[in-house]
Symmetry: C2
Subunit: 311 residues, 2 copies
């Protein structure tokens, strides 16, 4: 069993962040890089907001709120209440603690740092030793076509609570964005032990990254095993719009649809339960393990299962 | 006794805000305009911060913290604590509630509003009926020459707690800034009942306004009585660096120095106690009244005394 080498994890927000934390707990810090989707990033109230980076950052720093499922533990909402009283835009909830992250990131970007540099500085300040990387330093914006027209991602996701019926997805800026060098290196990186696609929404959280020039080809050519964890548990999304989105895109809400979506990229797919016809000729090897991550132990166990599946 | 007509009050921050509130409580809203110093304004962490405007705004809205003497009542500091943990700049205290004001103002300015428009919107949202005006929509920055070199005002005032020895003051941008039209109209405004210089620091809070093109001349030519309240109480500044600053500028810390500073501009000077030689030939008429404003009643009584002195 191959035990050495780095692991590169690709993550979106909340669901992905849980496994990212599990991996961070079972691997030495120098053996793990986490590359995070930035398609959800946006400017709001003058602030540079990176929801998925922050979800992973807070998870790794031990600051994530377990109850609410997003944002920081011990969060307060004084700022939001005051902003509301001033007639400000209050559809995107910004906690008092969380706000500091956005203000500090915005300040660093304005001072000329890249998002990669700003992210590293925030991670270091919070004692996170694992390397946390945005998928690109260039802006990429996920936009969704819906029955209410084209919407910026956070307007669809937060403001409209995913209620509009989705008909398509675009990643504006992706074709001209430079991917993180770590992503382009995947195709010939012999030091890698595994690439892990965390259980994030494949369409919303992983596809923006795959839309960056050269990344899909690099991942397909990766000499290390590529292991994905299906975000579906008991035939449903644990949190978020994955199941609704799949149905609206005309897909069966099944692990099989996930396997087909990642066809040619993924060597192993971890699922919570087998399905008829899930193992396909030329498709990924299927590993059935518990994938629901409620506790910290769940996160570590799944991380171990991912590493075993890769070996 | 002339009872009709508008009152125009000129105010800096905390001390001025107390009398501004008193005036707002004894006058109908349409009879009071408050023009506020913006020389202390600065950009910090990407936010447009207007300390004096906010002091007056919070006072008029009933949101000011009476104990601390600045900022908002019921303020919390979660954002600051989180920012400090991120290694951010924490020398300027930004409360969670206060932050909403800066974020909303910054958003409005970025959307193309003038500071006058943004201020009016904030005041309206908080139920303030009196007209609150910045002295100018153009940036004016108070800078101080000290024994530690030239410092931006907030660096001197907050970061260095007024500790450096002051040798001079400049109002950068003042000579090219357009004053609020209400200030330029002072010279020929027959509708005015009085102009009030609130008990703010004459050098730091009123001089920036007098440095705007045409304002000093307009005030000197004002047909309405100009009434100033000395910021000194019992021979000292109630709060802030007025006394230290006067001493460092080689001035006696006395009402007489205040009277001399406002020579040719002020018709009446309200002081808490008479001094030998305070009444000077050609100088302002001296009115002795209690000027310390601890309670809301104190504020109203002083406002009444100001209006009587003007009649």
């Amino acid at each position: 069993m191959r035990r050495t080498g780095r692991v590169l994890a690709i993550s979106g927000g909340v669901g992905g962040a849980k496994l990212a934390l599990g991996l961070a707990r079972v691997l030495p810090p120098e053996a793990l890089d986490i590359v995070v989707n930035t398609g959800d990033d946006f400017r709001h109230l003058g602030l540079a907001i990176s929801p998925d980076l922050d979800s992973v950052l807070y998870a790794l720093a031990g600051l994530a709120d377990g109850e609410r499922g997003w944002g920081r533990a011990g969060e307060t909402w004084q700022f939001m209440a005051a902003l509301r009283a001033l007639g400000g835009e209050d559809w995107f909830a910004l906690g008092d603690l969380d706000l500091a992250t956005h203000v500090e990131r915005t300040r660093r970007l304005a001072a000329g740092e890249t998002l990669t540099q700003a992210t590293a500085a925030l991670a270091q300040a919070l004692g996170v030793q694992v390397r946390l990387l945005p998928m690109s330093d260039d802006p990429v914006a996920t936009v969704v076509d819906t029955d209410e027209g084209r919407l910026a991602f956070q307007h669809y996701f937060v403001r409209r609570r995913c209620e509009p019926r989705l008909t398509g997805l675009h990643f504006e800026g992706a074709q001209h964005a430079r991917p993180a060098p770590e992503l382009l290196a995947l195709g010939q990186d012999a030091s890698l032990r595994a690439v892990v696609l965390c259980p994030s929404n494949p369409w919303l959280s992983v596809d923006p990254l795959l839309a960056l020039p050269g990344v899909r080809a690099a991942l397909a050519a990766c000499p290390a095993p590529v292991v994905a964890v299906s975000p579906l548990v008991a035939g449903k999304a644990v949190k978020g719009p994955t199941a609704k989105l799949m149905a609206e895109l005309g897909l069966q809400v099944s692990h099989r649809s996930i396997a087909q979506h990642y066809a040619g990229l993924v060597d192993v797919l971890l699922v919570d339960a087998d399905e008829p016809g899930l193992a396909m000729p030329g498709g990924p090897r299927i590993v059935v393990v518990p994938t629901l991550m409620n506790t910290l132990d769940d996160r570590e166990r799944l991380a171990q299962a991912v590493l075993e599946a890769a070996s």
